[in-house]
């Protein structure tokens, strides 16, 4: 089963990662030599992301298994890698002006960001529990650093420490789960694990324990309730671009890891175990939405909103059919555009003097910057799930998958949650359009940020109005993954 190890050819298969890693190292080294304001780091980072993306296109085609099955190139991997790269691109575009406002070293930031993306890409390609774990750690450790990037800011320190402690604990739990699986099967290869586990019953205590460990561990990574406690503080304390990265990149990576491990390695996930995820899904969306209503800080609100969206995404996992999983993938893609857009708007309000992360800071924006306010309304509509935006298509497809598989109540709960979420999303629209700002509204305009917003608006509207190709993309990404 295990493919032969062929260093030359295998490295070629991993060329996107090799390229990205090289670029990240170049950025890191150059950051010591080149002054921050030249724009080199930004340029190199964008080039790294775009170049990696181009290399991914070149990989399209037959699925490949390299490094003795530790590294897979299949549609699933390519889809998630594209998602990660888009989110990294978003974060870079948002950061270009913002980093100067926050007065942080530019080169290090981009280098660490690229390393984190590299970790995510290894998760997507993980054909082996260990390589997947290494990817997960590469991503997480980079993000611990990013979360604490504002060295003199107490909240940022708190965020980094909380995230580090939680993350380290989580990694331990996941590793424990992996170790138990290894003990049961004697292999770390995901396919072989599945082949061995097929004969086992869920009543096997070791297997049960392993699944509990893995569920909790990945629950932390994707911030499902009740493993979500750290999220609001981390989101609030970290720099906004890092928060955006957490929300779009790291959550997507968590979903990728969840799918790789549970769908790939543990066939018992269907059936009884789905009940547990049913509960997790309902809890996650409900708690996320209800707590989001009480927030005054935009970043905290978006933190709870991201929790709620993970709840919706889990619907697809509960359903577990091809339709359900492809709905998850589509939703991850859609979620990325609308959430990145919303964070870009938070950054838009950050100026030299104003922090701009309170909801009330948005007051009167529609009068001064109507186009920006309109863009925000599109993101908010999409987050709520109102057509003709992408968020609607995502929910439509998820709800459809749930109903088709007989999860009527899950769909009903999600529908009620949609109505709840309207309240806090539209409150932002209300503040922008219907309240007047006490003082002058100041924004930080920068071309790169505009580019990010326009990119997000286009993504949100195009997927919303013409979702066909994206739907097919999500379905095609499952090829070979589902039985």
């Amino acid at each position: 089963m295990t493919a032969a190890f062929n260093p030359g050819a295998d490295t070629l298969h991993a060329l996107p990662e090799v390229f990205l890693c090289t670029m990240a190292i170049i950025v890191l080294i150059l950051s010591f030599a080149v002054p921050d304001r030249r724009g080199w780091m930004e340029g190199l980072s964008v080039a790294a992301v775009v170049g990696t993306g181009a290399l991914l296109l070149w990989q399209l085609g037959q699925p490949v298994s390299a490094f003795s099955g530790m590294y897979l190139v299949d549609n699933f991997a390519l889809f998630f890698k594209a998602v990660f790269l888009i989110s990294t691109l978003f974060v870079i575009l948002m950061s270009i002006n913002y980093l100067h406002l926050e007065r942080v070293p530019v080169g290090e930031f981009y280098a660490v960001l690229l390393f984190s993306t590299l970790g995510m890409m290894f998760i997507a390609s993980g054909g082996n529990l260990l390589s997947l774990y290494v990817g997960l750690e590469t991503m997480s450790i980079s993000i611990y650093v990013l979360a604490g990037f504002l060295k003199r800011d107490r909240k940022s320190n708190e965020a980094a420490l909380k995230y580090l402690l939680m993350g380290a604990f989580t990694s331990g739990v996941i590793l424990y789960g992996i170790a138990l699986l290894y003990g049961l099967t004697g292999t770390l290869d995901i396919k072989e694990t599945a082949a061995t586990l097929v004969q086992m019953k869920l009543s096997n205590p070791a297997l049960l324990l392993a699944m509990v460990m893995l569920t909790a561990g990945f629950g932390f990574k994707i911030a499902a309730v009740p493993f979500h406690m750290y999220v609001p503080d981390v989101y609030e304390g970290a720099m906004t671009t890092v928060t955006a990265f957490l929300a779009v990149g790291s959550e997507a990576a968590g979903v990728a890891a969840l799918l790789r491990v549970f769908l790939g390695a543990i066939p018992q996930i269907q059936g009884d175990w789905a009940v547990l995820f049913w509960i997790l899904s309902v809890l996650t969306m409900t708690v996320g939405n209800v707590l989001a209503m009480a927030q005054r800080n935009m970043k905290r609100m978006l933190a709870y909103s991201s929790i709620a969206h993970i709840g919706y995404i889990l619907i697809g996992f509960v359903v577990g059919t091809e339709q359900g999983i492809s709905a998850m993938l589509l939703y991850v893609l859609i979620y990325e555009f609308m959430t990145a857009g919303a964070f870009a708007m938070v950054i838009y309000l950050r100026t030299e003097t104003v922090k701009g992360d309170l909801i009330e800071d948005f007051a009167g924006l529609a009068r001064v910057r109507p186009a920006a306010a309109a863009a925000m309304v599109i993101f908010l509509m999409s987050l709520t799930g109102i057509p003709p935006t992408a968020g609607f298509v995502g929910k439509f497809y998820l709800f459809g998958a749930a109903i088709n598989s007989g999860y009527i109540w899950l769909a009903v709960v999600a529908a009620v949650n949609t109505a709840i979420s309207l309240f806090y999303y539209m409150r932002v629209a209300m503040v922008m359009y219907m309240l007047e700002s006490p003082g002058p509204v100041s924004v930080s305009s920068s071309r790169s940020l505009y580019a990010a917003v326009i990119f997000a608006v286009l993504g949100t509207l195009i997927i919303g109005i013409y979702p066909g190709p994206f739907l097919e993309l999500a379905q095609a990404s499952l090829m070979g993954l589902m039985k």
Partner: protein, 528 residues
């Protein structure tokens, strides 16, 4: 069929959207131009929509002028539009009231003019689309699009005191109904797909399926749930909130009262009809057995709405709130007629939707006109206006009589048909409904008497200006239509007859299934 193959329906639907896009390119300071362009294009849309009855085949109950193009093939979604006798007049009503809304906002909206007209135009596209869409996905898109601009219209340009509350309440209520309907739509989609093996959101295809009606869950003595009943309830919730029917009506007085005049006109005139339209098209048209099952429930709610709405009107001190509650009562008539489930009832209720759109829309325009002058809506602040504003008083009187249902005006025709339809089924329904008419006459006449007759009670009212040409023009088209429908309703009824007949025939077939008895004749149902 459309001989020329010209996408007339798409043109009507998207002309306002294109106008809104055009407005984006006009500088916001050029308010006159913005108003002019909006008026020009909404009037143009209205004129184009008048082409519909010209090319419409009055003898056919099928969908006409259909346009179909594939959209999302993976899910069986298509861009599918068509018009039949039920939607025909509602489309024309939408285009007319939209044009009048632009006209009536001319002087009263001075803040953020550009956004205002953009929202108004987006709203128009959504409303027309709802009536024309023949694909559930498309329908739902239009259905929800309507909510967003209306939310902003109420929230930004509404009455300062409670606009924020009213706006979010409107949005939350209706969105809640909508998402439940979405689940219903998905359930129907998968059910039908499993039956035929072809998954489609094509409404006409889905109507051909007969949905399972065996009990799945029963609460003895209360309700029996079948698949059809459950889906019926999902649609019901959405439409009942929109109409709004009795226990779901509480968003309406707030939204109608706080909205700017044009917002109230469109809310009362068209948005409420989206609910009524939905009932006829989907609940009656797709789930006939469930419809029979829920008749007593629906009729009870309707009668409660008629009487309760009217009685609440009697104690209102705010004119706009009074008219808002009168809508609850009037829409009660619409749902009553509809659920009489015979020709007269359904036809009457579709016509009454148009009538109510005209007369209540006009009443909101009237309140808007005096609000613009005095900036108060309290009945107590007026009195004796007929001596100061004779033209206004005359138009008001005509509209008021139309709302009451005076013979010769449009309201009478609709209410009469509804009562006939109700009487065929059970004389008590008609008797209750008549109470509502009497109360309706009472509160409207009393309102008119308190504000218009007598001597001028407040000195600041004594030098109010009568209507100018623009203001009169917002009401005169409606008055003409009120007389037309009142005196010669034949063309309106004739156009909808075949389509309504189709629905009623199907219901009759279902009744045979439900009751197992012989089918009564179509036009005259015996008492049940």
């Amino acid at each position: 069929m459309n001989v020329l193959n010209f996408p007339l329906l798409s043109l009507i639907t998207f002309l306002p959207l294109l106008t809104a896009l055009l407005l984006l390119f006009i500088r916001r300071e050029r308010e006159g131009l913005i108003r002019g362009v909006s008026l020009l294009f909404t009037v143009l849309t209205f004129i184009v929509s008048l082409w519909l009855p010209v090319v419409f085949d009055f003898g056919s109950g099928e969908m006409q002028l259909v346009e179909k193009a594939s959209w999302i093939e993976a899910m069986g979604v298509s861009y599918y539009m068509g018009v039949d006798g039920i939607s025909l007049w509602l489309v024309c009503l939408s285009t007319l009231l939209s044009a009048l809304s632009v006209l009536c906002s001319w002087d009263s909206i001075t803040d953020r003019v550009k956004e205002y007209y953009i929202f108004l135009l987006l709203l128009e596209t959504g409303m027309i689309g709802v009536f024309l869409a023949l694909d559930f996905f498309l329908f739902y898109v239009f259905w929800e699009i309507v909510l967003v601009p209306m939310y902003f219209l109420i929230g930004i340009w509404g009455h300062p005191a409670r606009r924020l509350y009213a706006a979010i309440k409107f949005f939350l209520y209706t969105l809640f109904g909508s998402v439940v309907m979405l689940l219903g739509i998905l359930a129907v989609y998968f059910y039908a797909g499993d039956q035929t093996g072809r998954y489609t959101f094509d409404i006409l295809e889905l109507m051909k399926i007969s949905y399972r009606n065996e009990p799945v869950f029963r609460i003895p003595g209360v309700i029996t749930f079948t698949f059809q009943n459950l889906v019926w309830l999902a649609f019901f919730l959405s439409f009942a909130i929109k109409v709004p029917m009795f226990p779901f009506h509480t968003w309406l007085p707030d939204a109608h009262t706080e909205a700017p005049t044009a917002g109230s006109v469109i809310l009362a005139g068209i948005l409420l009809k989206m609910g009524g339209y939905g009932f006829v098209r989907f609940n009656l048209g797709m789930f006939p057995e469930a419809t029979w099952y829920f008749v007593p429930f629906m009729v009870t709610l309707s009668i409660v709405a008629i009487i309760y709405g009217a009685m609440v009107c009697l104690v209102q001190q705010d004119m706009k709130r009074l008219i808002a509650f009168s809508s609850v009562s009037h829409m009660g008539f619409v749902t009553l007629g509809m659920f009489a489930l015979n020709m007269q009832g359904v036809q009457g209720s579709v016509l009454q939707m148009v009538n109510h759109g005209l007369s209540t829309g006009a009443l909101f325009l009237i309140v808007g006109l005096i609000y613009d002058r005095r900036h108060t809506r309290m009945i107590a602040d007026f009195g004796g206006l007929s001596t100061v504003m004779p033209i206004f008083a005359t138009l008001f009187a005509i509209i008021m009589f139309s709302s009451i249902g005076l013979p010769g005006l449009n309201g009478f025709v609709g209410e009469f048909l509804i009562l006939v339809g109700a009487f065929y089924v059970d004389w008590r329904w008609a008797a209750f409904a008549v109470t509502g008419i009497v109360l309706g006459a009472a509160y409207m006449l009393w309102l008119y008497q308190r504000t218009m007759f007598g001597i001028v009670t407040h000195r600041e009212n004594s030098d109010l200006l009568d209507l100018n040409f623009r203001e009169a023009m917002t009401l005169i088209p409606i008055v003409i239509l009120c007389f037309w429908i009142g005196l010669y309703p034949a063309p309106f009824l004739r156009a909808m007859e075949p389509s309504v007949k189709k629905v009623v025939t199907q219901l009759e077939k279902a009744r045979k299934v439900v009751e197992g008895g012989p089918s009564p004749t179509l036009s005259a149902l015996p008492k049940r």
